[in-house]
């Protein structure tokens, strides 16, 4: 009996001490982690808006060149030259894909797309994050929806090349973009026309 009580006391004491240590670590690291995430989001927005910046001056550049606005709970970001960026998200092949998409002031063409989170197949689907792949979105017309075509076949100004060996991810990515644009752009348009 005494053994059992000692056993429980031991487990409880050890658990409490270690939990206290974890609380301390959490308290110390949370502000730094939140700051990192904020900087990552801001640099993603700047990239989508094609604003060049120094890696250590994300905060300053963002504060000087981008204005944050809201419309019906949709947050979006307006650059000096009128380009507008907003976050998108959706389901890829294996997990969520999130990032920032930027449109030009004409509400017809894309300015840029960035990806901040994805869990696609490394080396295949994850190639959607490569700058060369994302560069093709610049200047594409989204008004009638983006259309996926076979690798290297894009000719019209709303066509997007897919990636060899990663058809499902390519399809999911274009679908996510179309859905988010369709939902968010009208909101922003109303917000901006007031």
């Amino acid at each position: 009996m005494k053994d059992k009580i000692l056993m429980i006391v031991f487990v409880l004491a050890l658990g409490s001490i270690l939990t206290a240590a974890l609380v301390a670590v959490n308290y110390l690291t949370t502000p730094v982690i939140e700051k990192n995430e904020e900087i990552a989001t801001k640099s993603s927005i700047l990239k989508a808006l094609s604003i060049s910046f120094e890696p250590d001056q994300v905060e300053e550049t963002f504060a000087n060149k981008v204005k944050q606005r809201q419309r019906n709970g949709t947050t979006y970001y307006v650059a000096e030259d009128g380009n507008i960026a907003f976050p998108y998200s959706g389901s890829g092949l294996w997990g969520p894909i999130e990032g920032i998409v930027a449109i030009q002031p004409n509400f017809q063409t894309l300015e840029g797309v960035t990806i901040s989170r994805q869990e696609e197949t490394p080396g295949l689907g994850s190639r959607i994050t490569e700058p060369q792949y994302l560069a093709q979105f610049e200047g594409k017309r989204f008004a009638e929806g983006l259309k996926l075509v076979q690798p290297g076949r894009s000719s019209a100004d709303n066509q997007i090349d897919s990636i060899t060996g990663a058809t499902m991810t390519s399809e999911a990515f274009v679908k996510i973009l179309n859905e988010n644009i369709e939902e968010t752009v009208p909101e922003i348009r109303q917000g901006e026309s007031r």
Binding site: D3, L6, M7, F10, V11, L14, G15, L18, A21, L22, V25, N26, T29, V32, I33, N36, E37, A40, T121, P122, G123, L124, G165
Partner: protein
């Protein structure tokens, strides 16, 4: 009576066992999951190796310190609580100080908890040995794990991405071996390493 020289010899033996004879990956085939998953880039392998080594050291220290206090019937849960605590510390610190690496190895940091090397060493060594020996054993096993991971990663990153630590090594027109960046590449390379390691150590398959 233990003399000083005997103590030293013992330490050396413990260390050599960890990095070579009882090497966690070659000899005991422990920790394979994470070795396969995060050996696609050298940077990730170093971060993972450092993480596992830190958890081994911290766990070894605490378990060896508490070895007379830990009730035998709850020793497993004790290891689990201790390991889990240090893994969460590693995860938070990586997220705070090295966000890029943290994102690259993502869920595998949390999976250090289930890395059998740590559980295995706790049960086989730390619970029965003094603090000093346990720390040497932890360091040796951590080092053994890390150098294997890094060697596998060098081969995989070179062939799969054409780079080492992000620097372009292969010539411009080099065709990347996509399979090396993916899980099957890890199986091939790790199997070859285990084969070479076991042949050199003269181990026989049982």
């Amino acid at each position: 009576m233990k003399s000083a020289t005997l103590g030293k010899g013992q330490s050396l033996k413990t260390f050599l066992n960890g990095v070579w004879r009882d090497h966690p990956i070659f000899s005991m085939i422990l920790g394979i999951c994470s070795a396969l998953a995060v050996s696609n880039k050298v940077e990730n392998a170093i971060a993972m190796g450092a993480g596992v080594t830190f958890v081994l050291l911290a766990t070894g220290l605490l378990i060896a310190m508490l070895r007379r206090l830990i009730p035998t019937r709850v020793r497993m849960i004790t290891y689990m609580i201790i390991i889990a605590t240090f893994v969460i510390v590693v995860d938070r610190v990586l997220k705070a100080l090295f966000p890029d690496i943290s994102q690259a190895i993502g869920p595998y940091v949390g999976l250090i908890i289930t890395n059998c090397i740590i559980m295995g060493r706790a049960e086989a060594f730390y619970i029965q040995n003094k603090i000093g020996q346990s720390l040497i054993d932890a360091l040796a096993n951590g080092f053994g794990y890390t150098y294997t991971l890094v060697s596998v990663a060098v081969v995989r990153e070179l062939l799969g991405f054409g780079t080492i630590l992000g620097f372009q090594v292969m010539p411009e027109g080099f065709t990347k071996w996509v399979v090396m960046a993916m899980a099957p590449g890890a199986f091939f390379v790790l199997a070859i390493f285990i084969w070479i390691g076991r042949s050199l150590a003269g181990m026989e398959a049982e």
